[in-house]
Assembly symmetry: C2
Homo-oligomer: 472 residues x 2
Amino acid sequence: MPAKSTSADNLKANIPDLQIVIVGAGIGGLVAGIGFNRAGFTNIVIHESAKEIAEVGAGIQISPNLSRLLRRWGVLEDLRGYAVALEKNSIRRYENDAEIGSSPFMPQVEQQFGAPLWVVHRADLQMVLLKAARKAGINVQTGHHVDVVDFGSDGTPNVSPVRRPRYKVNNGEWLDADVIICADGIKSHTRRDMMKIYGQTDHAENTGDAAYRVTIPREKLLGRPELLKLVDESVSYRWIGPGGHIMVYPIRNHQLFNMVLLHPDRCDTEESWTATGPKSNMTKFYSSWSPTVRALLDLVEDDEIPEWQLKIHRPLVSWIEGNVALMGDACHPTLPYVAQGAAQAAEDAAVLAVVLSLINDKADIHTALLIYSELRKSRGETVVASASKTRDALHLPDGPEQIRRDEAIGKASRGESNSPDLWGDRLFQAWMWGVDIQQQAVDRFEHLYRQTLAKKQVHSEARRNFLQERNF
Amino acid sequence: MPAKSTSADNLKANIPDLQIVIVGAGIGGLVAGIGFNRAGFTNIVIHESAKEIAEVGAGIQISPNLSRLLRRWGVLEDLRGYAVALEKNSIRRYENDAEIGSSPFMPQVEQQFGAPLWVVHRADLQMVLLKAARKAGINVQTGHHVDVVDFGSDGTPNVSPVRRPRYKVNNGEWLDADVIICADGIKSHTRRDMMKIYGQTDHAENTGDAAYRVTIPREKLLGRPELLKLVDESVSYRWIGPGGHIMVYPIRNHQLFNMVLLHPDRCDTEESWTATGPKSNMTKFYSSWSPTVRALLDLVEDDEIPEWQLKIHRPLVSWIEGNVALMGDACHPTLPYVAQGAAQAAEDAAVLAVVLSLINDKADIHTALLIYSELRKSRGETVVASASKTRDALHLPDGPEQIRRDEAIGKASRGESNSPDLWGDRLFQAWMWGVDIQQQAVDRFEHLYRQTLAKKQVHSEARRNFLQERNF
């Protein structure tokens, strides 16, 4: 039985020189690198295909389940100067700014969950993480495109791989590793290859929505006190209307105003941080929305607005194959409506760090990755589903259903019912934000290790043949 | 949040008068009744279709994961007088009694797992349980055939039922209950109806095997010292040969010798405790087996031997529907080769008692049953798969694979490798026998309660429609 550890705060890898290769230096790959480093691993390489790590993205949420992990890893304080601690979320009617309901955030959330709720620019988080990774001696290689990953296994669930995984960088020779962590994002080609093993194709369903991302520097709001207030206070607003909604909040210590604008998809964009759409489309859709919304959009100078298409990805058959694991958007790309993209990637990283640090034999890597799946897959997929559900609630056309929804949001604000907006629902928050998944991984490891070995004994080659003969 | 409990030894139902209806007074139904009673429930009815509870079955194992629960429920001591504590299992070659390997059982197993390993006659266990149930004031109604169970739900996973479940007894009026536990065995019609909801048909795959069950009273062995020894000592033997194996051990305080004889199925029997086959078929198949085996079979006087067909049942989509739960053979019928039939039913009962005792609102019954599934389904199905796997290992024809298997069993006896016979494999035993699933249910309830509520919020009506529109 692998050695025990009782706290996620002092992990100490039993095989510190385990050769860990991480594909991608986005939020997921970087938190994975840092998580492994903090668990005592010393042989970590991150391959990033971009030549330079560029400032992309917009505001993202550092929810308590993420801030708890960043604090444990010693990077939360580095982020504080770039963050805004949100005091509440206010849900507004699209046409007239009327408040439908609100959820208190800070300081109540920190009191309840023991970790704060902040918002930051994705790029600021990435830069803080990159700096921390480099400071920790993690080898971050940019301009390294991982062309292909060879899982070293034959796709039989619960059966150990036949050999070590391999990969190619920039069309070079095969390189190998003890374990490969694929944090290669929403367009992960490792996911596609893994799905092929199970006869699945990598296909996403359109939601019918796309999103514009806009940021407005504070100085542009000077002289407009009613708008300046929005960046100076610590409140997020969600305007909800027929077929769309707008999410706004200040980031970067109130120096930048962040807006994400959901609207019907014109089907001429893509799932990407770098696609754009013309500003005229944006102003047209929101022309019937409140004066505040229109005043904000008037301040946007660019003609081309970053726009991405929002899709729903089905749950995968597996997140792991051989000694290769998917993590982050590579295995659970999500709609943004419960603001859990970065947090769920960090939960993956946290659990991977635990399970790999607690084994003491490289032959157990595959078992460790199965335990990772057991701890993370269902939880991650439920979060993805919660974002889809919240989407349905937010985009209702005006009518009886919308009136019932608005009443429910109002009641939820007074603690009288659940909220159809799961981001603001207390019961859902308790599960989404209240779980310390890394500590849970430590606590449950021993039992799950035994259980996984038992399952592996059952699902051996012989078992597989037996089942195949019977078309089981 | 429901009230906490810290030990499975002192459960105290928050809703003691919950109206619990159990279908079937086999081992599963009776342990469920007793488990609920010990958790403080006072309103328990068991409906059994048989007019009288008859002595059927043969020897079964009281493994540590079962004896631990029976001890907690105060019925283990009542069983002691009917039991034999096995000291070891000896695996023999079919043609000449040569020992291929052996596993130590008692007292080592009790020392390791804190609970004993016994074997008893199924009928003795059932009578002890029936007596305990009646003594506890549980209303056991014989001659009550439950014709149909109405789940009160529409088959949407994770969505609470629309109303209380109902059932009919002996073609009478609809009766209702807060929760219905279906322990109606391998031929469960509730399982069939539940599968229909998910578009599945209830179909089992033939393994190609059938089993004779024979019991020989000790007095018939008097004057045959070499055979008398088998009933007087505390050893189980497993003769393994091409296409079949024989499992024997003494039961009923050494007064009865129990034999189960696996052989190729002639496809003229059925999955039943009461079907039979002619003795001539039995002696013919085992005519090339060892003199000991043949001498034992010579002592069998009956012309018709109880025989049952061994099938593999696929894992079900769900074990619960609305406020109705399947348990025992009704949801995880198993091959007998790791001797877990009764134990797995008792684990179901133990977990059901925990989850229903910890809720404090009847609206949470469905959530409690989802937690039961979460705790039991994967574990139960892995045990079923382990029995199928062990079957493959035991019935190999003579040849290179069989030689490798026999070597592995020998090595496993010396602690040098895993055993292909999972019943005798130490690693598998640690998981199968070492887990106190009832205590685990207590320990994990709070987290699973939050998680299940989160999932239920996500999988609501709206979510379902949304997915259906997209053929998701």
